[in-house]
């Protein structure tokens, strides 16, 4: 088939999912037409336009930048169907009613181009049945694309072929969904609820069953089924509230109706308390009451025994928690099995039934164990899928324990484990993951798009990732940097990776970067700064705090100077340095990224200069960078006044604003419009290496150091102070906030010099460093640092 080009997308249905899928297309710079029924009163597109406007107000934000809403057009089925003829991909996302969907298909079919792809975002209706509602000619270009809520943030898209779907079209669509929308794809069978919801909803039903059986509170269970077992903070019941209890009930009903032969069928029913809540109209977050309810600042939780709410406990700490936090997976399962605590019995039971369910259904619902594990990670935010957890816990021992419970009638059904379970010692191996249907190991998909993912999400038990060839490293296993290459990709582009926890920048990293940059200049064509997220959470505060305590301020001044030298070395290296950013790039991490020749940012990048939170200002060149940017921008602005540009960055730095996407990072000046925004984070090193190569081939030369930066000077500082005086007098900021913010203003304005003075870059670096060290000497800044180290949260003092 010829190359797939998607110039424009139409989304049918402006509900929660439809509007947010449209938003994510806009995030990927794909123009979208969002369709729905015309409004009964007022302008026909009024409701749809309100849905689009609403996208800018949601949290978490569906749009990576607010102005992207302008690329989503509202349209209705009565007057605008002609607009479908421009669309290369049409995604249907209306309510889950077969008749409604088929009606709509009949209505839109005449307007679909012959080469357009038509896809349904249904979460449970059979794709084959939906395809039958289309004219024969369209069926080979129809399939299911099932997004997860919220679609910007949940990686998973299930791709479901109908019987007549063109396999080449599916491959092309998979590549587009991966690279263009940044989604992670699992090919699902056309079985009820597909993969992730089939397993995920069963898991919720199992949790509900054992909650009731053991008489545990919903809040207790949420404390057990959240991060403690590698699942999202919202755990089970809070997730249900967020999803909507009516939606959950609907999915349970679907399972009840469509899976009559499932051995667990008797459990596919709504618990009484859930029915009661829905009958009361308590549907969860959207109705402000569900399993949980907020009463002022107090959070209440439903007590299913009384039907009333009681205060929720957030401080549930048990022996179980300690055990889970300290043991490895195998020890954990052994401990859970042996413990008599109800919480331990609960956890064993929910894992047992989950494993049991997955093993029994593997051949029917998925191509391999890998697809179930990845679907649960990407669609439900689990750190580990069921099969890899089982395997890590010890495949054979756990299998034996499960079968014992089945035989003893403790499991939810008598259905035995399938025979293959006892014939194997694992499901994920170097050669691939087990397919129960074909009884063999299946390797990862080999579509060309996956060559762009040098480090795909790896499952426990799979072949270890290629660590490349180490050229040099320092600092042992948990500190310093590693300079390495992937000779199979580009032997002369180095990759520089930090090793410390959260990639904090300490002395070893600074030393390592100096050496690595020097080596790259000597031996390589370019350098990529990359490691798994986070990019870097900033300077190693522990080291700073210790030096402060010892009163070593001259030493600290020297350290900051060295930090600045590294920033300048990144900027002025004789080879291009490309920063590949994913996740947090804060403080010093942000400064390093800002100094790179070029940035490749994953869309989900959280970038900011947050020094104010610990009573400091950016002094690794960050303040200097903003002064320099203001100077550059003012050169082309009317009046050449640098201050308006300083004012914006002053607010950003004084309020420690963090950009919540790569696009916001560009808007706030942490990244540049010419940088690359990569939709799929796993493509980051591939793109960064290619970018470094291109910069080298384009004849890279480092920029000259600016010796005449026009700065805002004293009037600029005073004008920033105008804001500070009002905030301080109004009681919005403390005296120390004022002091810190004024220091930031002073650095950004190039120090106490006359307005529009011209200074060199080194002067500004000296100003920011001197102010930084002065702040370090203050008691309040030291308190803030100590507080951050102890609690991880900023102190307001």
């Amino acid at each position: 088939m010829s190359k797939l080009i998607i110039r424009k997308v139409a989304v049918l249905g402006a509900g929660v999912m439809g509007a947010q899928i449209a938003a994510h297309c806009a995030n990927a710079d794909v123009p979208v037409v969002l369709f729905d029924l015309p409004a009964k009163d007022g302008p026909p597109n009024g409701v749809i336009e309100r849905a689009i406007a609403g996208l800018t107000k949601l949290d978490p934000a569906p749009l990576a930048a607010k102005d992207l809403a302008g690329h989503i057009d509202a349209a209705n089925y009565d007057t605008d169907l002609e607009r479908l003829r421009d669309c290369d991909l049409v995604i249907e996302a209306i309510a889950e009613k077969m008749e409604w969907k088929l009606d709509l298909y009949a209505k839109v079919a005449p307007y679909l181009r012959a080469d357009a792809i038509f896809a349904s975002n249904t979460s449970g209706l059979p794709i084959g049945k939906l395809a039958e509602g289309l004219p024969e000619s369209l069926r080979q270009r129809f399939c299911g694309v099932h997004f997860f809520n919220p679609p910007r943030y949940m990686a998973l898209v299930e791709l479901i072929p109908a019987p007549a779907t063109d396999p080449l079209m599916l491959d092309a669509l998979e590549a587009w969904l991966a690279t263009r929308l940044g989604k992670s794809i699992v090919r699902a069978k056309d079985t009820p609820n597909f993969v992730a919801n089939r397993v995920g909803v069963f898991s919720i039903l199992a949790v509900m069953h054992h909650t009731a059986r053991l008489g545990l509170g919903f809040d207790e269970v949420d404390a057990l089924t959240g991060p403690l077992i590698g699942r999202p903070k919202s755990a089970t019941y809070r997730t249900a509230d967020v999803v909507g209890l009516d939606t959950l009930a609907h999915v349970i009903d679907t399972m009840q109706a469509t899976l009559p032969d499932d051995p667990w069928h008797t459990w596919f029913r709504q618990p009484d308390w859930l029915q009661a809540l829905i009958a009361k109209g308590a549907l969860g977050q959207k109705t402000r009451a569900g399993i949980y309810r907020k009463d002022g600042k107090k959070i209440l939780v439903l007590d299913p025994r009384t039907g009333d709410y009681r205060p929720s406990r957030s401080d549930i700490v048990s022996e179980v928690a300690t055990a889970l936090q300290t043991l490895n997976t195998a020890e954990k399962f052994a401990w859970l099995g042996a413990s008599g605590l109800p919480e331990a019995q609960f956890l064993w039971a929910i894992f047992r039934d989950l494993f049991h369910y997955c093993a029994v259904h593997l051949d029917e619902i998925a191509d391999s164990a890998r697809d179930i594990d990845l679907a649960m990670r990407w669609g439900f935010g689990w750190a580990r899928g069921p099969f890899e957890t089982w395997q890590a816990a010890g495949w054979a021992d756990v299998a034996k324990a499960i079968q014992m419970d089945i035989d003893a009638g403790r499991a939810m059904t008598k259905e035995p484990l399938p025979a293959w379970v006892f014939l194997r010692g694992s499901v994920h191996e170097a050669a691939g993951s087990y397919s129960a249907r074909d009884n063999l190991l299946k390797a990862r998909p080999t579509l060309p798009v996956y060559r762009r993912q040098l480090y795909p999400d790896a499952l426990l038990g799979e072949a270890p990732a290629d660590r490349g060839e180490t050229l040099w490293e320092n600092g042992g296993d948990a500190d310093g940097v590693r300079l390495w290459t992937r000779p199979d990709v580009d032997a002369r582009i180095g990759i520089l990776s930090f090793k410390a926890t959260l990639h904090a920048i300490g002395d070893e990293v600074i030393d390592g970067m100096c050496e690595a940059i020097a080596r790259a200049e000597r031996d390589l064509d370019g350098l990529v700064l990359w490691h798994d997220a986070p990019f870097a959470v900033g300077a190693n505060l522990q080291q700073v705090a210790e030096a402060c305590k010892a009163g070593q301020f001259a030493l600290l001044d020297g350290k900051v100077a060295k930090f600045q030298q590294v920033s300048m070395a990144i900027r002025h290296a004789q080879v291009p340095v490309v920063a590949a950013v994913e996740g947090m790039a804060l403080g010093g991490g942000c400064e390093f990224a800002m100094h790179a020749a070029h940035r490749v940012l994953a869309l989900e990048s959280y970038v900011g200069l947050v020094e104010a939170g610990v009573g400091l200002i950016p002094a690794g060149g960050g303040s200097k960078e903003f002064a320099l940017q203001a100077h550059r921008r003012a050169q082309h602005a009317a009046g050449r006044d640098v201050f308006p540009f300083i004012q914006q960055s002053f607010q950003t730095i004084a309020m420690a604003t963090v950009a919540k996407s790569a696009l916001e990072a560009v808007q706030l000046g942490f990244a540049q419009p010419s940088d690359d925004v990569v939709m799929h984070a796993r493509e980051l090193p591939y793109v960064a290496i290619a970018r470094a190569r291109a910069l080298f081939e384009a004849g890279w030369r480092p920029p000259l150091i600016n010796r005449a930066v026009t700065v805002a000077g004293r009037s600029g500082i005073a004008t920033c102070e105008l804001m500070l005086v009002n905030m301080a007098e109004g009681g919005f900021i403390s005296e120390h906030d004022y002091k810190v913010a004024k220091a930031a203003a002073t650095a950004l304005c190039g120090g106490e010099v006359e307005t529009n003075a011209q200074v060199g870059e080194q002067w500004i670096l000296d100003v920011e460093r001197a102010l930084f060290v002065e702040l370090l000497k203050t008691e309040k800044t030291q308190q803030r640092i100590a507080h951050m180290l102890e609690t991880g949260k900023p102190l307001r003092n």
Binding site: A718, E721, G731
Partner: protein, 399 residues
Amino acid sequence: MTRQVQDAYIVAATRTPVARRNGMFAHVRPDDLLAHVLSAVVGKVPALDAHEIADVIVGCAMPEAEQGMNVARIGLLLAGLPDNVPGITINRFCASGLQAVADAAARIRLGEADVMIAAGTESMSAMPQIMGNKVSLNPAIFANRDNVGIAFGMGLTAEKVAQQWKVSREDQDVFALHSNQRASAAIAGGHFRAEITPYTVRTHLPGDGGAVRVVERVRDTDEGPRPDASLEALAKLKPVFAARGSVTAGNSSQMSDGAGAVLLMSEAALKRYGATPIARFVSYSVAGVPPRIMGIGPIEAIPRALAAGGVKLADVGWIELNEAFAAQSLAVIRELGLDPARVNPFGGAIALGHPLGATGAIRTATVMSAMQRDPKLRYAMVTMCVGTGMGAAGVFERV
């Protein structure tokens, strides 16, 4: 003030309706608004030979950008006044429009002129920030504690006044509610109709097939007042200027766009053109107060203006006290013992809006209209506080 050679009389006064910032005049230029009221006020005396206008004095608090370049001269030329008529833009912040009236009167009273126009125009929509296009403060302000008040935002000064004069949040909200109720009632009663010269706004909207559609709408009503204002809604608003403060968006003046113009003549000119005077300009006073409590300015200015005119407070039947904030309005009312029934009978800036430099001229039009309506109203006053710490007051006598 007995050295004057003759009296100055207000012959006509008019204004535009006042728009909310970024409201109905969002894309209307302030020089166009000015030209509109200038030609309207001149048109009220058909016999007047426009060549005889000695000067056009226009108040404007942010005289830059769309209202820069000596907007007085530009506005009068756009209004079609003859080339020989000069124009000057003056700035005393919120008192600019009233200062224009006082200065125009002064020229007549000194015998230097027989026909003068005073006006004010302001578009706060046109300003990218409320402090003008480019804010740049003198570092010396922050070097000396005594000067820091210069940098205080107006809302913050209102908080300081509320603290010092012990004006409660509840009292401020009640005052704001009354302002809205009075203004809404006045609009419903058609009481502003006589003083407002409607303005036609042209808007360009996307039309069918990529064409541009032009929509014209005649605007004749103040946009600010909220007839549905309630104490409950006002009480819910969060303080804007201080974390534990009492000044909210609901009990502060609104940012607005608008213009007003006043035609003044000497007795000789009245006779020459057969014009009927509405009022005699009695007196004017302006006084400085500490910048940090700028809202109390009228406490200083009102007694001085009354003394200069030999008028007793009890004889002033209508007081247009600019409601920069409910806090400072109440402090002034209580400190001077003003009769709340006579202060802003048609509501004030909390409801009607406050287009800074235009307000003095606009509210002069309101008191002229009140005098024409009520033969028993002898004295009226326009007064306001002024940013960076001043107060101004002008007294008019019905003739």
